[in-house]
Structures are given as structure tokens and as C-alpha cells.
Amino acid sequence: MRTRQYSAYLYIAPIMAFFLVFLLYPLLYTFRISLFEWNGIDKTMNYIGLANYRVMFNDPVFWQSMRNFVTFAVLVVGIQMILGFLLAYSMRRPLKIFTAYKTIIFVPVILTPIVVSYVFTNLLAYNGGLLNESLRTIGLDFLAAKWLGDPRIALFSIVAITVWAGTGFSMSVYVSSMTSLPNEVLEASRIDGASRRQTMVKVVWPMLRDTHFSLTIIGAISALKIFDIIYLLTRGGPVHATEMPSTYMFNSAFVTYEQGYASAVAGVMILFAMTITIFQLRLSRGSAN
């Protein structure tokens, strides 16, 4: 019995070693650095306790980045899920034309953020951008906007771009989940007189509960991590209108040379990500029960 216990530890040793070295140690190291005033280069680090956290929680820009994150996450996750579901549901029949559509919708998913940002920088330019020039051409000048330069609009432009780039992923996950739905249930709903809309909303949507939870977790964590597209398109501006915790952290680490402070932001982001995941998993488990 004792030998079997030892062998169990032996089997999990590799993954435990990986976890300790590549996950736990960096996390603890980040937390340690957050207790210091350090520019990230010098050998000397000045211990300041929780001062970095105090400054962070008193900085309105930090709170703005958190508000932006919540707005961004709710909109992106919600819209991507609904659009992805509708697209998957409306193209569930095995027709060639649907396969072609699904491929086209999926293409943005494989594009790198630098390509996406380059394309949209040109598309959304105030002068000479395709969108505004098209609006001006058809006499809708009043609709031409500073899509990335107006603090009231910029975050929503980023949401739209992220939705465009990520809906194909949600759609493909729903497509694969729908193939595993039992046909009997769908047929039974039809026999019972459910309309197409009722079948979609009251039968298919609830049966894809696990997919919704997976996409919500992935979407929320991705929203928390998002950096590249925002940095390339707006750098968190204008006037912090698109500032996210990640861009705020980057600025602290590499613009104002405050590695300790940036680590404090990172620590809060990690805790936030863990809280989201635990909350959603519990919700998922409770719902399944």
C-alpha cells in the first residue's frame, strides 16, 4: 500500500515540477517584487511594503482601466457568444455554401493582432480611412467620426474590432458543440409544436450550457489579458479611454520604469483572473447540479 502511495507521487512529480517552476515561482516572485520600489534594471531594490498597492488603489487611472475592462469584457464576451451562436445555428445544415461562409468568418481568428491593427488603423483613419470616406461619399458626412481618436467612441471601436476578430472562434466552438446535440430532443420539440425560434432559444441554447461557460471563461480571461490590439491601435488612449489593466501595467514597467508597481498591478490582475475563473466554475457546477 505504502509503495503504491509513493508511486502516485512519482507519477505527478513531472507536472508538479512544471507547476512549481513555471507557474508558482513566477507568481510568488511577482508578488515579492511588488513590495519593492525598483526600476527593473538596477541591482538595488528598495523595500516599501504595500505602498505600491496603496498608490495603485488611489490612482484614478487604475480604476478607469478596471472599468474599461469590465465594459470591454461584458460587450465582447456577450456579443461574440450571441453572434457565434446565431451564426453556428443558422449554418448548422451541411451545405457547401455554409462551409464557405464559416471559413470566411473564421479567417480573422488566424490573423495576428499586428495585421488586424494595421488593417483597422487604415480603415478607421479620420481622413482617408475607408469607412469615413465611404460615409462622406454617400452624403453621410455627419456620421464620419474619429473612431479611435474620440474618447467617447474609441473603446467601442476596439470592442467592434475584437468581436470581428474573435466571433469566428465562438462560432466554431458552437458548431462543434451542436454536432453532439441529440437529434431526438430536437425532433421531439418539433413534434411538440415548438417554433424555430422556440427550438433555438428554449431547447438548443440551454443544452449548450457547458459551451457558454467555457466561452465565458475564455472570453473574460482573454479580455483581461488583451494588450496587443489595444497597444497597437490606441496605446490605451486617448486620455485613457481604452486603458486596460495590461496597458496600464506595461506603462508602469516600460515607460515610467516602475517594475515594482507594475508587479503590484500584475498581482491584482492574477487575483482577478483567478476570482473570475473560480466564480464561473462554481456557477457552472451549481447550474449543472
Binding site: G40, I41, K146, G237, P238, F254, E258
Partner: protein, 451 residues
């Protein structure tokens, strides 16, 4: 027999001592002790076939790759034993991220660069002062080799932290003379003339003064120039905590910055455009705007092979900022303070300095000047070996004239947090979300909290 034993023991002892002596001194930290030192005492043009192979790592965002390749190839002909590993990054911020990581991970380069007092202040603990190396290479009067102001710009606490980069002042306005002529606009000397020119350009569907306001550096360059017109020298005193940043003249400069946006002197949606390449392309390639706020380094447009046809087909001009406060004087330009430095943790400091010397004062300087068309930091003139177009020559001469008429003042802000705060409040003022007095007060708060 005993005599033989004593002689043998003495011989072994001497050999051992010699070996110890070599190994103790061979740590690369003493300029006069390493084998390379003997070699570097000679001119860099002397070959060193017997020297051991050495690899030097150069990490920076400048100069251009093609220039760096030429410099390394030229150096290889005189120092075949030296391999120069080049780590060039696309821009300064990428470079800084990479070099910080390199220092933190123990993979420090032997040579690095800095572009401003902000980056120098933050990299200073990683930089080996060059005074000792320079004195050894050029003699005790080595500082006379350089233009005094350039050395002052790269010095901290009495130590020279690097070899200065070429002289290339910031705070200038470039203009498309062909376009201005087309609309009957002459080079504006006052703000009213600039405003009038902007209105005329807008009436013809063109953008006026282009500013890549998504980049903080050009916003700060531009505003520092405005500040130097309204409050000469006061910003530097305020950074040094000698006077408050809330000085009425400083506030006037902020209010004027707001006015420039309200008057639509800058292009539409300036904060969505980077200086490189959005504004650069809008000015040179698509020629959507007639003016561009940029430094003398914009002279490199004449070396841009991709845009050669457009550059050659247009007549370009350069001018200082017009008189903004109505005192009849144009604001001074901003002196660039970049430098090439020796890494404190570099393993081949002697060899690295020898390469740096070649790159910044010998053949390498010639290669860089031919591309940047700039003024070297050395007192000895560097005659360009490239043929300049009449327009390029005229603008190069004009920059020299501007610099001589308005002695350049310090560029940049030493404290990174103050610089970041400055960019933040300037964005808010430009968007009408903050007034000048509040903006100055916010900067003052950051100055107060800075160490």
C-alpha cells in the same frame, strides 16, 4: 642536486606567479590590463591578427540596419578577430523593453544607446563612464575633440556616460514648399500667419500642421518648444524644484496649447496618429498635410529609397516654430542628448570601446553622417561623401543657421513619471478636459512626489 632542485622550484614558482598574475588581471575591468588594451593603444586601423577572437554585443534602435552592417563590415577589415553581434530594434520603446530584460536576465549587451535624459537617468547604473577609456584612446585632452554642449548632454555627476550622437535638434517645423507655393502661402513667422496658413490649407482639403500625438515624445518635444517661447528656461527650473511649475507663464503655454487645437492648427485626429510612420507617410508619401512638427533628423527623408521619387519631386523646407507669444522671437530648438554607451556588465569593455570609437568618431561616423546628413558631435568636420540634392543641401544649411541663431536648449524631461504625467495632461488639455492651471498643478504634484 640540491642546486638543481632550488633552480627548478624557483622556475616553477615564477611560472605559477606569472600565470596567477595574468589570470587575476584578465577580468576585463581594467582598461590597461587586458591583452586587448595593448592592441587598442594602437590605432584602430592597425590589424590585430594575433589577437584572440572577441564577440561584442551592440544593442540599440539606431542607426539604420544598412548603416550598421556597413560599419561592422568596415570594422571587420581592420579587426578580423572581432565579431559584432547586432541587436537592432524597430523603435526606442521596443529597444528599451528588450535591453531592460537583457540586463535583468544577465544577458547584457557590451554596447547600448540612450536617447534622452529620461532613459539616461534610468540606465545610468548599467552604464560604465567612458572617461578613462577615452583618455587612454585620445589622450587627456580628449574632451576637446567633441563640441562641448554634446558632451555636457551625455554627462551625469561629472562623468561622461557615453559618446554623444550627432547634433540633430528637435522642435522644428518641416513644410512642403511645393504645396505652400500652390496655395500662395509663405513660410509663417508668427502664430497668426500659421493660423492663416492652416485655414487656407483646410479650405483646399489639406491638413495643416501634422503631429503624431499618439507618440508622447513628439508631443513633449512640441510642447517644450512652446514652453520655451512663453516661459524661457522656467520648465527646467521647475523640474529642478527651484520654482513651481504653476508659474503663470507655464500656465499660459498650456492655454496656448489648447488654443492651437481649438484653432485647428494641428491636423484632425492628431492623437490617433504616430509620428513614425503615420505622420511621416501623411507628410511625405500621401502629402495630406503641409507642415510637420519634427526634428532635424527628418533630413533622412533624402536617404529614403522607397520614397525617393516623391521626395525628389517636391521642394521641402524647414523652419523654427514661429513666434507664438508675440515677442518677435522664435523659440529655441531642443538639443538632442542621445549617446552610445559602454555597458558596466559587458565582458569585453576594451574591445567594445574600440569598436565604439570606430563607430562614432572614425569610419562609422562617416557612414552615419552620410545617412543622417547631420552635424557630427566632433569638432573635426565630416565632409559628406554622398551627393546632396540642392534641396537637401539648402535644408541642411538652414538647420545649421537656425541652430546658430537660436542656441538649442535641453530636450526631454529627466524623470519618467513627470514626462508621462506631462503627456497625460497635454492630452487632456488638447481634448478640452482640463484647463492650463489644472494641468500645471498636476505636473507640479508629480514633480513634488518624485524622488
Amino acid at each position: 642536486m640540491a642546486k638543481w632542485k632550488v633552480t627548478s622550484a624557483a622556475l616553477i614558482g615564477m611560472i605559477a606567479l606569472t600565470a596567477c598574475s595574468n589570470s587575476n588581471n584578465d577580468n576585463g575591468t581594467n582598461p590597461s590590463s587586458s591583452p586587448m588594451a595593448k592592441e587598442t593603444a594602437s590605432s584602430s586601423s592597425s590589424t590585430s591578427a594575433e589577437a584572440k577572437p572577441v564577440t561584442i554585443v551592440y544593442e540599440s534602435w539606431t542607426p539604420y540596419k544598412e548603416d550598421m552592417d556597413k560599419i561592422v563590415a568596415e570594422y571587420k577589415t581592420v579587426h578580423p578577430e572581432v565579431t559584432v553581434d547586432i541587436r537592432l530594434h524597430a523603435n526606442f520603446s521596443e529597444y528599451l523593453t528588450a535591453v531592460k530584460t537583457a540586463f535583468a536576465s544577465g544577458d547584457a549587451p557590451d554596447l547600448l544607446a540612450f536617447d534622452s535624459p529620461t532613459s539616461l537617468a534610468n540606465l545610468k547604473d548599467q552604464i560604465e563612464p567612458i572617461d578613462e577609456y577615452a583618455a587612454k584612446a585620445w589622450g587627456d585632452g580628449w574632451k576637446d575633440k567633441f563640441i562641448h554642449s554634446t558632451l555636457a548632454d551625455v554627462s551625469l555627476d561629472g562623468k561622461t556616460m557615453g559618446i554623444p550622437m550627432h547634433i540633430s535638434p528637435g522642435g522644428l517645423i518641416w513644410y512642403n514648399k511645393t504645396m505652400l507655393d500652390e496655395y500662395g502661402i509663405v513660410e509663417p513667422k508668427t502664430y497668426d500667419e500659421l493660423k492663416k496658413a492652416s485655414d487656407t490649407l483646410r479650405q483646399h482639403g489639406k491638413q495643416p500642421l501634422l503631429l503624431g500625438a499618439k507618440d508622447s515624445w513628439i508631443v513633449i518635444d512640441t510642447f517644450q518648444t512652446i514652453l520655451n517661447d512663453f516661459a524661457p528656461g522656467k520648465q527646467y527650473d521647475a523640474y529642478a524644484k527651484k520654482i513651481p511649475f504653476t508659474d503663470p507663464d507655464v500656465v499660459k503655454a498650456f492655454d496656448f496649447w489648447k488654443k492651437m487645437f481649438a484653432d485647428k492648427v494641428f491636423q484632425d485626429d492628431a492623437f490617433s496618429m504616430t509620428e513614425y510612420m503615420d505622420v511621416y507617410n501623411a507628410f511625405i508619401d500621401t502629402q495630406a498635410g503641409a507642415f510637420e512638427s519634427n526634428g532635424a533628423w527628418n533630413l533622412d527623408i533624402y536617404a529614403n529609397a522607397d520614397l525617393k521619387a516623391k521626395v525628389d519631386a517636391t521642394e521641402w523646407g524647414v523652419m523654427p516654430f514661429p513666434d507664438l507669444n508675440g515677442d518677435g522671437k522664435a523659440p529655441p530648438t531642443l538639443s538632442t542628448v542621445g549617446g552610445y554607451a559602454l555597458s558596466k556588465s559587458g565582458k569585453n569593455k576594451e574591445a567594445a570601446f574600440e569598436f565604439l570609437k570606430f563607430m562614432t568618431t572614425e569610419k562609422g561616423l562617416q557612414i552615419m553622417m552620410d545617412h543622417f546628413l547631420a552635424t557630427p558631435p566632433t569638432k573635426d568636420p565630416v565632409e559628406l561623401t554622398v551627393a546632396l540634392s540642392p534641396n537637401a543641401k539648402a535644408n541642411r544649411d538652414r538647420i545649421g543657421e537656425i541652430v546658430s541663431q537660436t542656441a538649442p536648449v535641453h530636450r526631454g524631461i529627466g524623470n519618467a513619471k513627470v514626462a508621462e504625467k506631462m503627456y497625460e495632461v497635454l492630452s487632456k488639455v488638447a481634448y478640452g478636459k482640463m484647463n492650463g492651471a489644472d494641468a500645471a498643478a498636476e505636473v507640479q504634484k508629480t514633480i513634488d512626489s518624485a524622488r
